[in-house]
């Protein structure tokens, strides 16, 4: 790994509420190269807020601070709005959980992809159209020409998510942040989506941050895994070594899942140690 694609140092996200300040992310640091990085945690662990903070999408009244937050050498914290806008959706893209809420319901899928492309690349309509069709093909749409002219409500969840990925990838980003991209989908469909993401990473050398609650999925898909608990990274390890996890939280998360292979009952439950959150 020469120069890291993304450097995050001591990232903090605070929400100033009437009842006091809640710190959702408390000092997260990591570096990302051209690899698949998984961020795993339960609800409220701050994993999604970490992803959003990188893109500058923290909802108000959130406040983001970091020792360093740099993408390809560009400091994201001090960058101008203009720079951020060109980066966002251009070199950094994000795929959200539910395509229903991320696609514009009154525009055809094709139009949306063209718009995303033209917002970041100087291209004529014909060229943009060709790119959009090529992209729909890349995400394994059976009939790209037909899907191009469909509205989001006319396609299934799996197809919608693929369209979303096509839209996010049409600008050929260097970094893709995928926040639970498959949890609204059926298992067989989500396997296809993962296969598409996998190919894009290996073929284009894109960096991927895969945020999920599903430890099993992340460990089988990613190269490296960050395990988050209460706004902190409690453990970072190679995905293939997940079985040898040191932290009791990671171990607990692994063992509390029922598996087809072993019939354990009662299932071990997680005894949360307040010290983990320190």
């Amino acid at each position: 790994m020469t120069k890291p694609l993304l450097e995050v140092e001591d990232l903090r996200v605070r929400f100033h509420l009437r009842t006091g300040t809640v710190e959702a992310v408390r000092g997260v640091s990591f570096q990302l190269g051209r690899e698949r990085l998984g961020i795993v945690g339960e609800s409220g662990s701050g994993k999604s807020q970490t992803g959003r903070a990188i893109l500058g999408l923290t909802p108000p009244p959130g406040e983001v601070t970091a020792g360093r937050l740099a993408f390809d050498g560009i400091d994201l914290l001090t960058a101008s709005r203009r720079t951020l806008r060109t980066l966002r959706g251009g070199r950094i893209s994000m795929v959200m959980q539910d395509p229903k809420y991320s696609l514009n319901p009154v525009m055809t899928i094709g139009e949306q992809i063209i718009e995303a492309y033209q917002a970041h690349a100087k291209a004529g309509r014909g060229e943009a159209r060709d790119r959009a069709l090529a992209m729909l093909e890349a995400v394994k749409m059976r009939d790209p020409g037909r899907v191009f002219a469909l509205y989001p409500h006319e396609v299934s969840g799996g197809m919608g998510q693929r369209a979303m990925i096509a839209m996010m990838l049409v600008t050929e980003p260097d970094l893709l942040i995928a926040d639970e991209p498959t949890s609204a989908l059926d298992v067989t469909v989500s396997m296809e989506i993962l296969r598409i993401l996998d190919e894009l990473v290996s073929e284009r050398g894109m960096g991927l941050i895969f945020i999920s609650h599903d430890l099993k999925l992340v460990s089988s898909f990613c190269d490296r895994v960050l395990v988050m608990y209460a706004g902190r990274v409690v453990e970072e390890l190679e995905a293939k070594h997940l079985r040898e996890a040191k932290h009791p939280y990671t171990q607990g998360l692994m063992s509390c899942l029922p598996t087809l292979a072993n019939d354990v009952r009662p299932l071990p439950t997680l005894n949360r140690d307040p010290a983990w959150a320190q």
Binding site: E42, S43, S156, G157, G158, M159, D186, V187, T188, V189, S190, M191, E192, L194, R195, D198, H213, D214, L215, K216, L217, S219, S220, F221, G252, L253, C256, L257, P258, T259, L260, A261, D263, R265, P266, L267, P268, T269, L270
Partner: protein, 258 residues
């Protein structure tokens, strides 16, 4: 305990006619736990809703405890069959306290001794009496699901219909709820029908299961067979594979029509 013969469920008429369940039959013995597995749109939840009367029985027979069910269901039916829903955030009335939620079924059936039974129901699901006067928004997801289970059990039913009871919960909370369901079944001799998309959850809780797809029954098999990956049907086989997580090899194993 529960016998379903050639069940059909049809919604709408004419062009809007949708056949959600086509000719499904299965039998569940008393004290047994039976799973319905499938992806979204497979009709697994609709079978459950047809049993309890939330969806119509368009054709076929549903018998509980040897008697065919009537439409609308009588009060006796609801004393025998109860249901736990998927989303604990949607299944509890937002303006009712736990106390009110649990006392409602007792009041409907004219049960006496509500006080003691509410406290007992809370104990059974592992919550103390301090939870009694809380509103749902003061509870975590796992606690809400425990309340939903307590509400289903307070009438002492024999059959519990479980509609994805853990899929909205975190993994560690899922383990607690699964353990609780396991324990309650043993203690009370309950019969479960569990709907889930998660094969591991079904295998953990059920002895036998039915794999469904597009409203039809694909294959009836057992948890033991799942554990040893012995499925005769290729669709079941692909579900088993997908449940093991992502695999970089075997790129064509999951090419299933969307």
């Amino acid at each position: 305990m529960l016998d379903i013969q050639n069940l059909h469920v049809v919604f709408g008429t004419g062009r809007l006619r949708v056949e959600a369940v086509k000719n499904v039959s299965f039998h569940v013995a008393a004290g047994e736990s039976y799973g319905l597995v499938g992806e979204s749109g497979s009709g697994k939840s609709t079978v459950l809703r047809a049993i309890c009367g939330l969806a119509p029985i368009s054709d076929g027979r549903v018998s509980v405890d040897g008697r065919e069910v009537t439409t609308p269901r009588g009060k006796d039916f609801y004393r025998t069959v109860q249901m736990v829903f998927q989303d604990p955030y949607a299944s509890l009335h937002p303006r009712h306290t736990v106390d009110r939620i649990l006392s409602e079924p007792l009041a409907i059936h004219g049960e006496k001794d509500a006080e003691a039974r509410i406290l007992q129901a809370l104990r059974e699901v592992g919550l103390g009496s301090s939870f009694r006067f809380r509103y749902p928004h003061q509870l975590s997801g796992g606690q809400r699901q425990r309340i939903a289970i307590a509400r289903a059990l307070i009438l002492r039913p024999k059959v519990l219909l479980l509609d994805e009871p853990t899929s909205a919960l975190d993994a560690s909370v899922q383990a607690e709820i699964l353990n609780l369901l396991d324990e309650l079944r043993r203690k009370m001799g309950l019969t479960y029908i569990l709907v889930s998309h998660d094969l591991a959850v079904v295998a953990h809780l059920c002895e036998r299961l039915l794999v469904m797809r597009h409203g039809e029954a694909i294959e009836e098999t057992s948890a033991a067979a799942l554990r040893t990956s012995q499925a005769s049907n290729s669709y079941t086989q692909s579900l088993i594979q997908a449940s093991q997580g992502y695999s970089r090899a075997a790129p064509d194993s999951t090419s299933i029509a969307v």
